[in-house]
C-alpha cells in the first residue's frame, strides 16, 4: 500500500506540474485578461466582432499555461501540433491572399471606376505607413522590422500579417493584434482628426453623383488593375492578384457561384482560422515585451497620419479642381483600407453636418483604392527589404 500510495502521489504530482494552475505566471494572466477584453469589446461594444471574437478567443487558447518541456505537442509554435498546422497559413502567409480573394469578390469598385481620380486619395493615405516607418527607425528598429510595423498604417489586417510574416516573423503577433485592434477602433480614432482638419464649409461640400458604370468597364477593371499594379510591383502579386481575381469572379457574371463562395464561405473559414491562430500566436513570453508597446504606439500613430494625410490630400486636390467638381475632404479618411468602416464614417460625419449629404458611395472610391494602395505599399516594402 505504501509503494502504491507513493506511486499515486508521484503521478498526481506529475499531473499537477502539467496543469495550467502550476505553470501560470503573471504574464499569462495579463494576456488572458487582454483576450477577455477583446471578447468583451466585440460582444458588448460591437467593435468588429467577426475579428475580435476569434482573436480574443485565440489569445485565451494561446495563453493557457502548460509545461512546454513535457513534449505534449499542443503549443502553436511546436512543430506538428494541431495549432501549429493551422498557424502555417499565417506563418507561410497564405491566409491573407485568400482573404483578399474574398475582399475582391465582395467589393464593388464602381465608385472608383466612375471617378478614377479618387485612386490618388487612396495613395495619399499610405503616408501613414511611411511616417510610422520613419518613427520606427528613430526608435531603433531595423528597417525590415520598421517596415513590418509601419504597414499597420495601411489599416489592413491581412496585408499586415502577410508582410510581417515575411519581414519580421517574431513581431507578427503584436503587429496583427495591433492592426486589427486599430481597425476596430476606426470609429473612435478618425472622426476627431477629420473634424480638426476640415472647416464647416468644407464638410458641407456636395459632390456630383457618380456616373453610371458599364458592365464591360467593371470586367476590364480587375484585369487591367492586376496587370498594371503587378507590373509595377510584382512583389504585391499574391495580394493584388487574388484581390483582382476575386473581383473578376464577381463582375464577369458567369461565375456567380464561385464569387459567392469566395465572398462568403471561404472568407468566413479563413477569417476564423486567421483570427484564432493570430490570437493564439500572442503567447505571453513573446508578446509582453517593450517592442509590443512600441508597436502599439507606432500603429496608433500610423493610423492618425494615414487618416490625416488622406483628408489633407483632398484639401490640396481641391485647390486644382473647378468649383463644381470639388471633393468633400471628409472622404479623405477613407483612403485607409478599413473597408467599409472608414467610408461609413465619412458618410456619418457628412450627414451630421448636412442630413442630405450622402458621402458613402463617394467615400467607397478612396476606400477600395486604399486596399489597392496598401497592397502596393506592402509589395514595395517587400521588394526593398526582403
Amino acid at each position: 500500500m505504501g509503494e502504491f500510495g507513493t506511486f499515486l502521489v508521484e503521478n498526481l504530482t506529475q499531473f499537477w506540474h502539467l496543469t495550467g494552475f502550476y505553470n501560470a505566471t503573471w504574464q499569462h494572466l495579463v494576456m488572458l485578461a487582454v483576450g477577455l477584453f477583446f471578447i468583451w469589446l466585440a460582444i458588448k461594444k460591437d467593435f468588429e466582432p467577426m475579428l475580435l471574437v476569434p482573436i480574443g478567443f485565440g489569445i485565451l487558447i494561446g495563453n493557457v499555461p502548460f509545461n512546454t518541456t513535457a513534449g505534449l505537442e499542443i503549443g502553436i509554435y511546436e512543430e506538428g501540433s494541431v495549432l501549429n498546422i493551422l498557424y502555417n497559413g499565417v506563418s507561410a502567409g497564405w491566409y491573407p491572399p485568400l482573404i483578399f480573394l474574398g475582399i475582391g469578390a465582395m467589393t464593388d469598385f464602381t465608385a472608383l471606376i466612375a471617378n478614377p481620380k479618387l485612386m490618388l486619395v487612396g495613395a495619399a493615405a499610405q503616408f501613414g505607413i511611411f511616417g510610422a516607418y520613419m518613427v520606427a527607425l528613430a526608435l531603433g528598429f531595423m528597417p525590415d522590422q520598421a517596415g513590418a510595423i509601419a504597414i499597420i498604417g495601411g489599416a489592413d489586417g491581412p496585408t499586415a500579417i502577410f508582410l510581417s510574416s515575411k519581414l519580421a516573423p517574431n513581431l507578427m503577433g503584436a503587429i496583427a493584434v495591433s492592426a486589427y485592434s486599430y481597425m476596430a477602433l476606426v470609429p473612435v480614432i478618425q472622426p476627431p482628426i477629420m473634424r480638426l482638419l476640415t472647416t464647416k464649409h468644407e464638410r458641407l461640400i456636395k459632390m456630383k453623383p457618380a456616373r453610371a458604370v458599364a458592365q464591360s468597364e467593371k470586367i476590364i477593371f480587375p484585369i487591367v488593375g492586376m496587370l498594371l499594379t503587378c507590373f509595377v510591383v510584382p512583389s504585391g502579386l499574391p495580394l493584388l492578384g487574388m484581390l483582382f481575381f476575386g473581383n473578376l469572379l464577381r463582375e464577369c457574371g458567369v461565375t456567380n457561384r464561385l464569387a459567392k463562395t469566395a465572398s462568403n464561405a471561404l472568407t468566413d473559414i479563413v477569417t476564423i482560422l486567421l483570427g484564432m491562430t493570430v490570437g493564439a500566436s500572442t503567447q505571453a513570453s513573446t508578446f509582453l515585451t517593450k517592442e509590443t508597446i512600441f508597436i502599439f504606439a507606432l500603429g496608433f500613430m500610423a493610423f492618425i497620419i494615414a487618416s490625416a494625410s488622406g483628408v489633407l490630400f483632398v484639401k490640396l486636390f481641391n485647390l486644382f479642381l473647378p468649383q463644381q467638381k470639388k471633393l468633400n475632404p471628409l472622404i479623405g479618411n477613407a483612403g485607409v483600407s478599413a473597408v467599409p468602416m472608414s467610408a461609413r464614417i465619412s458618410n456619418n460625419l457628412g450627414l451630421e453636418y448636412d442630413p442630405s449629404n450622402y458621402l458613402l458611395m463617394h467615400a467607397m472610391g478612396p476606400n477600395v483604392a486604399g486596399v489597392i494602395g496598401s497592397a502596393v505599399a506592402a509589395g514595395v516594402l517587400l521588394g526593398f527589404l526582403a
Partner: protein, 309 residues
C-alpha cells in the same frame, strides 16, 4: 457541333502549351553549373574517402527541382554522356540549394559519380542537357586550373558569361564552397544598406510613395481613358440606333451631364407639364433573369436519385 468541339480543343491546346512552357521555363531552366574543381589534391572528399574532380550544380529556382534524367557531359558531341539515374531521392534539389557530382569516371560508385573525368591539361567544357538530350540547360568552359582551385560563379546561379566566373584558390576572400553558397551572406544586404544609407527613412518614404502614386496614377489614367472611350461608344451606338448622325450631335450634346437624376427630373417635369400620360394603374418592371447552366448546379447531377424498389 464540330465548331464547338474545335473551339474546346483549341482552348485545351492553348492551356497545355502555356502550362508546359511555363513549367519548363520555371523548372529545369533554373539548373546551373555553379562551381567546378578539376584537380583535387587535398580538398573535398567523397563518401569513399577519395578525392577527385567535382562539379557543383545549383538549383536557382525558389522551388525544389528534380534532376533525374538530365544529362551531364564533358563532350558537346555526346550530350547524353552521363544520365543522372532515376529513382534516387537525393536527386531532388531543394530550392536554392546545391548538389555535387564527382567527375571520377566511376559511375558504379553511385548516382553522384559520373562516367567521365576532367582533363587537368586543357580547358574542360561541361554541359547539362535536359531529359530530351537536345536542350542545353547550362554550360561552361573551365580553363586549366591550378591544384586545389575552383572555377566558380561570383554569385550563386547568376550570370551568363565567363566574366561572371572567377578562379578561387581557397585562401581568405577566395573561398571554395562545395555543396554550399559561393557568396556567404551573414546579413540581409538590402536591410543593411537601408540602415546605413537611409537611417531616417526619408529615402524609403520618397521612393515608396512615388511608386504607390505611380501605380495608382497609371490605373487612374487608364480608367479615365477607358471610361471616355466607353462613353463615346455608347453614345454613338445610341445615336445610330435613333438614326441620328453622331458627328452632328457630338457638337451639341454632352453625355457626361446625363446623370440618372437629371434624366428622371426632366422626365417628371415633362410629364407634369404636358400631362402626357393616361391613368396608369400599375408599374411594369422588366427584369431579365439569367440562369447560366453548369453541370455543378444541375439538379440532374446533384440531386440524389430515388432508390429503385
Amino acid at each position: 457541333m464540330y465548331n464547338n468541339m474545335r473551339k474546346k480543343l483549341l482552348i485545351l491546346a492553348a492551356i497545355l502549351t502555356t502550362v508546359s512552357v511555363g513549367a519548363f521555363a520555371q523548372a529545369r531552366k533554373g539548373l546551373r553549373i555553379n562551381e567546378v574543381m578539376v584537380v583535387n589534391e587535398n580538398n573535398f572528399v567523397d563518401d569513399y574517402g577519395q578525392r577527385s574532380a567535382w562539379i557543383e550544380l545549383f538549383n536557382s529556382n525558389f522551388a525544389p527541382l528534380e534532376i533525374s534524367s538530365v544529362f551531364i557531359t564533358n563532350d558537346p558531341a555526346d550530350p547524353t554522356k552521363y544520365p543522372v539515374p532515376l529513382g534516387d531521392v537525393n536527386t531532388r534539389i531543394p530550392k536554392r540549394q546545391h548538389i555535387v557530382f564527382w567527375a571520377d569516371g566511376k559511375p558504379s560508385r553511385g548516382t553522384f559519380h559520373t562516367n567521365f573525368v576532367l582533363n587537368p591539361e586543357q580547358p574542360n567544357w561541361i554541359g547539362v542537357y535536359d531529359a530530351d538530350g537536345r536542350t542545353l540547360i547550362d554550360s561552361i568552359t573551365v580553363p586549366p586550373m591550378p591544384y586545389n582551385s575552383t572555377f566558380a560563379r561570383k554569385v550563386d546561379g547568376e550570370g551568363v558569361s565567363a566574366l561572371d566566373w572567377e578562379v578561387r584558390s581557397g585562401e581568405e576572400g577566395s573561398i571554395i564552397t562545395p555543396s554550399s553558397n559561393n557568396v556567404i551572406k551573414d546579413t540581409n544586404k538590402k536591410v543593411d544598406n537601408f540602415a546605413r544609407l537611409d537611417g531616417n527613412g526619408f529615402g524609403m518614404t520618397l521612393s515608396a510613395m512615388g511608386i504607390v502614386f505611380t501605380a495608382l496614377l497609371l490605373l487612374s489614367t487608364c480608367f479615365y481613358i477607358i471610361s471616355r472611350i466607353g462613353a463615346a461608344r455608347s453614345q454613338r451606338k445610341k445615336m445610330v440606333a435613333h438614326g441620328i448622325n453622331p458627328a452632328e450631335i457630338a457638337r451639341t450634346d454632352k453625355p457626361e451631364g446625363d446623370s440618372g437624376e437629371v434624366i428622371a427630373a426632366i422626365a417628371m417635369a415633362l410629364n407634369e407639364h404636358l400631362n402626357a400620360h393616361d391613368l396608369e394603374s400599375a408599374i411594369l418592371t422588366i427584369h431579365k433573369v439569367r440562369k447560366p447552366y453548369s453541370p455543378w448546379s444541375s439538379h440532374i447531377y446533384t440531386l440524389r436519385q430515388m432508390p429503385h424498389k
